[in-house]
Assembly symmetry: C2
Amino acid sequence: MNDFDRTDALETPAALVDVDRMRANLRRAAEYCRTYDLGWRPHVKTHKTPELAAEQLRAGAKGITVATPREAEVMAGVADDILLAYPPFGASKLARLMDLPEKVRLTVGLDSEEALRALGSAAREAGRDVAVLVELDMGMGRVGVQSPEGAVILAQLAADAGLEYRGVMFYPGHVRDHVDGQGPAIQAVSDRLGSFLEALDRAGLPPAVVSGGSTPTFWRSHEVFGLNEVRPGTNLFNDRTTALIGACEWDECAYSILATVVSTSVPGQAVIDAGSKALAKEEVRAEGGGYGALLDRPEVVVKSVSEEHGILDLSGTDWRPRVGARVRVVPNHVCVSVNLQDRLWGVRGDEVVAEWEVAGRGRIPLAGRR
Amino acid sequence: MNDFDRTDALETPAALVDVDRMRANLRRAAEYCRTYDLGWRPHVKTHKTPELAAEQLRAGAKGITVATPREAEVMAGVADDILLAYPPFGASKLARLMDLPEKVRLTVGLDSEEALRALGSAAREAGRDVAVLVELDMGMGRVGVQSPEGAVILAQLAADAGLEYRGVMFYPGHVRDHVDGQGPAIQAVSDRLGSFLEALDRAGLPPAVVSGGSTPTFWRSHEVFGLNEVRPGTNLFNDRTTALIGACEWDECAYSILATVVSTSVPGQAVIDAGSKALAKEEVRAEGGGYGALLDRPEVVVKSVSEEHGILDLSGTDWRPRVGARVRVVPNHVCVSVNLQDRLWGVRGDEVVAEWEVAGRGRIPLAGRR
């Protein structure tokens, strides 16, 4: 690898992480969780980088959340308490989970008898203790058990299947727009959750863990009655969507894509070398449109992207960059942008202070890596 | 790696390539180009896989088109005529291009004096012959010289900069909707191109190469006066968008994501383990909505995606998959889905016949690979 010490020397597009902002975001999250006595189990799908998971654990995280076997394998090097927040199906995924180092306390979230029985068989055969959280639908309508009775049945089945029933989880992904006006939506989650917890209590299955939380709802997690664990991912870095919906300040955005202006041929715009294969192409679910905005000039929006091009809309600014100029773009959704990177560069201003491989990216078993 | 012989054994999500369909797509493209005497220079950004570039070259491609230094490095193992269709900026990118094997005939597309001079300096220092194509804007409004005079100036500057002026290129990405009604749009491109070619001829700079073409316009490339090279990428695999706009048949879609149904908790839908990190999340610019459709049931659409989940809309079908069932999803845009894969599996029906690493993915220099 090259020796870098300034961002000027980086090839673009490059993913930059402002380490001071990231650590401030970390500290704020940790402090909030301490204040309200919430277990903090950050979702590492946002960064997929073991060094950053290690920072979260040092800052007070009780464990981590992962999305894939690959993430679990990579993170097992730094974490010994891992929640896989997705039901694993198929012999290959189950085998990879059972092959995690013994010291890893593995918990899996699921919402079906099929997933539970398959996991139970794999755990029994492997002689491994595995715990489960029953996933509940708190109104998002994606996955999760629909009724309190359904939750009780799955919790009861867990023991039959040779698994430890540890509690429940949900993802309030539907509560995200207009953070300031979220009160009623948070209350609805709280009420609905209450009816599930009550049924589980009545059945003699009180959950030890009640895990929820997302970045948009993060700072109101303490308003959800019964919640004792949160799993935010994005708020380590934040992104344009998080800022636009009011769940962070713009200057708390720690992640950006360093890009070069490669064409100014067409008047009123400038084309950069970061498109859907660097920023991703996710529409923003908030006013503003486009696919990202400049870190130092948030009024300049990436109005469209193709694979290797992003088009900066210059209609609202007098700024006119020259070909060859460099900019930093905050993408709409940081998690999918990180997933497009080989590595992240830790920076402090224009100084490069760290290089991290995005080792949890992809699907290939760590052992079989080529 | 594991030994696979059936798709049943693959871990999901997995990217499948129907090798017979792919080869039929290849043959049709090659035959069209032969019929109309068009040079065929497929864009490998679609597959990023050297084995597939080699197939294209064996089928009659005159060379390949690449988007990144990484693609150029990886493809140099199989191709000796490479067009980088994007202007390279920065010392690192230029050095990587100059370090390509000597046997590679390198051409670069660009639209600015800045790009031209930087490339010229690098070529001179490296003692390498590099050719350029002047990129023209044929109405898309993304990049490209705006006027015939501008094209003449850049072509003249090329020689001063120590580069070989080889011709012109453009990308008609604005001509894509309603392929059957494209006549006027194709005619407009043809007319506009004519005025550029005339000016270059008058200046004594007739282009040897006039390179255009995209997948949506592919089959009408012969209607563009003066065009002698085409650079389609997508039509090796096709995708849902290509089918929806009428530029291919549904049964010419050669690429799909094998996914597992992981939850059927919410009535009227089924959740699969392929979301924006496997299919990508690009809205379709055609009727139908959603982010993909089932290969064998195109009426079943992936109505929404989150990172590791896709939601199948079952409202228009009686089909009710069980948890654990497997499906194949054709994504809206194949190029960005491939870019999310570590590898592609060549299949014939349910049989796995090939495994290809997506070696051109990412940005890290091939030599510095970890």
